[in-house]
């Protein structure tokens, strides 16, 4: 299943946030969206996931979702968005309650999602008892439970410490490695973008336009090699030089706002 940003523009009142953004996320592909602060990355993701109506243009999908997919476009949120009154198991079960699955089927799906995210021993735990990294794992388990075609990830690691980020990044590489599931990965962290994405969409400062689309010339499995590190660093450096000036301008603009 492909996800298409078709000439999307958006305004919040008088403030133009996105301007004619178009690109396609092909089935199984991971596309990172980077750009200076306030360029509309998260707004674009909300539009792609159907949580926000664009002022102009459309978010479209093409092709069939994978068999058994209960929610083809599924978000992983920056702030985890876990129900604090529900246990880990209940949080993962939450999106399944209205899908027509019976109890036994739900239990099977939940067990699988918890196993894949290493949460099997925490099923009766409440979110407040978990670390940030474990909470995000619950968010990922909940997303996996509905068998998405494309994960929409809005800075999923930005609220976490660097060690936890590294561990979860390894999980993302593993989960997205098979190519069965695509992702749109919004981040301000260029290292995360070059490690995970097949292509990187670079947005300009507000109103965000597609400034460049950069393909990563390495498979994700190749990116773990020592020799690949240099290439990735060079790519990261190129991306930074694309963004740097606008990032400085955007920062000044925010400070003056």
């Amino acid at each position: 299943m492909d996800l298409i940003a078709n000439h999307i523009s958006h305004r919040f009142g008088a403030l133009a946030v996105l301007d004619d953004v178009s690109f396609t996320v092909r089935a199984g592909e991971v596309v990172a969206i980077v750009g200076p602060s306030g360029c509309g990355k998260s707004t674009l993701l909300s539009i792609l996931g159907g949580l926000l109506q664009p002022s102009r243009g459309r978010a479209e999908w093409r092709g069939a979702p994978p068999p058994g997919s209960l929610n083809p476009l599924t978000f992983v949120f920056q702030d985890f968005a876990l129900l604090p009154w529900c246990t880990v198991e209940e949080n993962v079960e939450f999106p399944l309650l209205h899908t027509g699955l019976d109890l036994a089927e739900r239990r099977e799906v939940i067990d699988d999602a918890l196993r894949r995210t290493g949460l099997s021993d925490f099923r009766g735990t409440y979110p407040k008892q978990l670390s940030g990294g474990m909470r995000q794992r619950v968010g990922i388990a909940r997303a996996l439970a509905v068998r998405p075609a494309i994960l929409l990830m809005d800075e999923p690691l930005s609220a976490l410490d660097s060690q936890t980020r590294e561990l979860l990044m390894e999980d993302f590489v593993r989960l997205l490695g098979g190519g069965a599931m695509g992702a749109v990965y919004v981040t301000h962290n260029l290292e995360e973008a070059v490690r995970l994405a097949d292509r990187i969409v670079v947005l300009s400062r507000r109103p965000g336009k597609v400034r460049e689309v950069v393909s990563i010339p390495l498979t994700r499995s190749e990116r773990g090699d020592v020799t690949a590190r240099e290439k990735l660093l060079a790519l990261q450096s190129d991306l930074w030089s694309l963004i740097r000036k606008e990032a400085i301008d955007a920062e000044r603009e925010v400070q003056h706002a």
């Binding site: 996931g49 929610n71 978000f75 968005a81 129900l83 999106p95 309650l97 407040k128």
Partner: protein, 278 residues
């Protein structure tokens, strides 16, 4: 540079600068903790002093009878059955009025929290009517509903309704929007979002509202019973005051206090059971 400057001004000699000095602790205070026993000890001391003042004749018992006289009055009321008779009338009025007001308040509060139309209309009405002392409406309600139980119950229900509606829509407003967006992103239907996200998210505010409405109901039942009732704790307190039976009057006040405490305990219990996740 700074050290040299200090020495030039005749500050402490050099050996004091090199000797280690303890960093003064500055983090004390601003963390009050309620001791488990201190409150009860203070209460016992006040009651003890009050009893001493009454027994020693420092206070005229007609104006302030000692605690022992109040205890005797409560015992007599309990044995004669008058206490239960008055209490049952008050509880019936509070219970009926509170339940009616709470149900209406929850429905209207949710409507205001979830619907733009209801919000536009409801908040205007609530802002205009909430500040009116509800007991002032009792004569009007008597005209409308007669002199039976209905106007008293309606007064309590009105008082409870406004506070409940406000706490419910405030609670709905306080539910983190990211949780609602999360549920929407999984195509969870509207009714399920209300039941599984908004209701539990608003519950802390709703239970805090219950604590306020319980006090409002108690206040209004006493006021309403003082204005127009033969039975009930409010009527009993008023009759005792008219007959200068201050021990009976204070017995009624103590019973009201105990009733309020019992309701507070019940709400604490509900909070412990329903909000254990906090």
């Amino acid at each position: 540079m700074l050290d040299r400057a200090e020495n030039q001004k005749g500050s402490p000699p050099a050996d004091r600068d090199t000797a280690p000095r303890l960093v003064a602790f500055r983090g004390a205070g601003f963390t009050p903790k309620a001791g488990r026993t201190s409150g009860w000890i203070a209460l016992a001391l006040v009651i003890g002093f009050w009893q001493l003042a009454g027994s020693a004749g420092w206070i005229n018992p007609l104006f302030l009878p000692p605690p022992s006289a109040i205890a005797v009055a409560i015992t007599k009321l309990a044995v004669s059955g008058a206490l239960w008779h008055h209490l049952s009338w008050s509880i019936m009025r509070i219970g009926t009025g509170w339940i009616l007001g709470t149900i209406a308040g929850i429905i209207v509060g949710f409507a205001i929290g979830l619907s733009s139309l209801a919000r536009g209309v409801g908040i205007t009405f609530i802002s205009a009517l909430f500040p009116i002392p509800k007991i002032a409406l009792l004569p009007l309600l008597i005209l409308w509903l007669g002199i039976g139980e209905q106007p008293k119950i309606a007064t309590i229900a009105l008082g409870v309704f406004f506070s409940t509606a406000i706490s419910v829509y405030s609670g709905v407003d306080a539910v983190p929007r990211n949780l609602i967006r999360m549920a929407q992103s999984f195509n969870v239907p509207f009714h399920a979002i209300v039941r599984r996200v908004i209701w539990p998210g608003a519950l802390p505010s709703i239970l805090s509202g219950f604590r306020i409405t319980a006090s409002v109901a108690l206040l209004l039942v006493v006021s309403a019973e003082m204005i127009g009732a033969e039975f009930g704790i409010g009527a009993f307190v008023l009759q005792a005051g008219n007959l200068m039976q201050t021990d009976q009057l204070l017995a009624g006040v103590v019973i009201l206090s105990l009733f309020g405490l019992a309701v507070g305990r019940l709400i604490n219990f509900l909070e412990t059971r329903l909000l254990h996740w906090r």
